[in-house]
């Protein structure tokens, strides 16, 4: 009995280790390559670099538009996530905590957004953004990402808000809080775990997105990182060393944020559970 359980556990562990290697190895190779010269990458693609010097990183920071792209990505990603969180919590609060006619229908309407890929609507989207004068602007991108992220945000936060005890809301109401104050001062602080999940869920796809900037951004000075990095891939020759350094530098902030947010998320889940 215990032997069988042991072997099952071992099998699961092996699978997980295999999976971890599958995921981490390319990142490992990318990081190592960012310290090599292009010639060294071709000569010794998987080995350790000759030295861990930061030449490539200095180069992308000083000789390319990387800092600009990086700033653009930060603006677009943070803008999108803030907008998703604000709109998401407002919609989810109404759907999750008030009973009104058409509540379920409206909820399903939001959920239907989960099933429709936004890219299919590229042409109407283009026409619409053009009408608003939002082509080739960060605001246009932010609106698209917010629309894309809203269904999952509403789904996650509505479910979470429904689990909070309604007496809390009633207590605040009797204490004299307005509906907005109940949301901001009582419910919002308690919703932090859900806010973190939604942020994590949207952070990576928005940061990495190549498609929408490609279609909607034309000016060099508005390009985001994924789009900007393609500059390093020339038609005839590619400066692989610089490209890998760029990719690595682009990945670092997301990974760091991810780690910080997951900590928050776990802390949120277990708060109050242990007395």
């Amino acid at each position: 009995m215990s032997l069988r359980r042991l072997s099952t556990t071992t099998l699961i562990q092996l699978l997980l280790i295999f999976n971890t290697v599958m995921v981490l190895y390319p990142i490992w190779v990318m990081s190592l390559s960012s310290f090599k010269s292009t010639r060294e990458i071709f000569r010794n693609p998987f080995g350790l670099p000759e030295s861990f010097n930061l030449d490539n990183f200095i180069k992308i920071w000083q000789q390319t538009n990387f800092p600009l792209y990086f700033r653009n990505s930060v603006v677009v990603t943070s803008g999108s996530i803030v907008l998703i969180l604000i709109l998401g919590i407002m919609a989810a609060y109404a759907l999750g905590r008030y009973q009104f006619r058409g509540n379920e229908l409206l909820y399903l309407f939001f959920l239907s957004g989960l099933m429709l890929p936004l890219r299919l609507a590229l042409i109407p989207l283009f026409i619409e953004l053009k009408a608003f004068g939002l082509i080739n602007s960060h605001l246009g991108l932010i609106f698209i990402y917010a629309a894309q992220g809203l269904p999952s945000a509403v789904f996650i936060m509505t479910g979470f808000l429904r689990t909070l005890p309604s007496d809390l809301e009633n207590a605040a109401r009797i204490d004299g809080a307005s509906e907005l104050q109940i949301l901001l001062r009582v419910m919002l602080p308690l919703t932090r775990p859900a806010l973190v999940i939604v942020s994590i869920y949207n952070l990576v796809p928005v940061w990495n997105d190549f498609f929408f900037p490609l279609v909607f951004i034309q000016s060099e000075n508005l390009k985001t990182l994924p789009l900007g990095l393609t500059v390093f891939m020339g038609q005839y020759s590619t400066d692989w060393a610089v490209l890998f350094a760029g990719l690595t530098a682009a990945a670092i902030p997301v990974i760091v944020l991810y780690v910080i947010l997951s900590r928050q998320f776990i802390a949120g889940l277990t708060a109050g559970a242990l007395k």
């Binding site: 207590a171 605040a172 009582v186």
Partner: protein
Amino acid sequence: MAEVVLEHVYKRFGSVTAVQDFNLQIDDEEFMVFVGPSGCGKTTTLRMIAGLEEITEGTCAIGDRVVNDVPPKDRDIAMVFQNYALYPHMNVHQNMSFGLRLRKTPKDEIERRVREAAQILQIEHLLDRRPRELSGGQRQRVALGRAIVREPKVFLMDEPLSNLDAKLRVEMRASISKLHRRLGVTTIYVTHDQVEAMTMGTRIVVMKDGLIQQVDSPINLYDKPKNRFVAGFIGSPAMNFMVGTVEGDRIKSGQFDVKTDELLSQKLQGYNGKKVYLGIRPENIGLEGYTTIPERDNVIQANVDVVEPLGAETHLIASVDGEASIVARVDPHAEVRAGDKVKLFADVKFLHAFDLDTEVNLRFS
């Protein structure tokens, strides 16, 4: 200075009527308890007074003002919830002062009231703690504190003690009574526990199926229950009921034959030959050889099923006529064992009789 007056109040949820024709006047400084089994509408009524539920029909007035359309925050009430509903992300001080801060009360005034309430409730040392770092009893005190600092006209309490363990509940019961005496604020207290109702209330509303059964002081509810429900609900162990036939001034069945006093026999005149419920409390039954009850012709023959010695008294659980199970409180030193056939005497002054259909108490009809 706040009375609470409810007139012809109804609450309907779709086709279900939760509260029916509720009429009640609660005097200033009164401690009114709503008691009844779960689903009887007591909490719904409280929530209507709080403004958390809309009143379907009728009026509710606090002070001189009809508050049907007044939002909860403007009703000048404070409520204590069953699960405390403390704000988890605020410490005790912030929890208690939240309402005052929302109302833009001056800082030093907030500080004074919070300190004072904390002192009354003996939670001064807990002001910096979060609710999750508190025990159940401490949380309960904080919830009370949050209500006190508001200095409202009316306190509403929704089963505030039901999440506490038995010992703490008895302690908190006394502290809440003391608090009420000290602050003199009109209080409406909902509970399903008749002991809480009896010990705390100046008056008690007994409810069942959305209807008020009786409103009276604890002792009157006990002595003069209007119907069989109230008689069975108030008192522990509960009143015993047996079906018997009225014959002149006696009520009889196979195993019992009791005489009724003058008042009851008068009321039973129209029932000659008919069946009624005979009601008698466990403490008004005596065991042959161990009782001071004078009458010897009020006899109940019973078969003892269980003997429960409690030290100060012993409860005999016995069957009469093979069906009705009755409880008798007897001398703890009585020598009775399960299986014995015993002779019990009923105290004639405390006999009740209830109509079989309407269940009205005939003694007080």
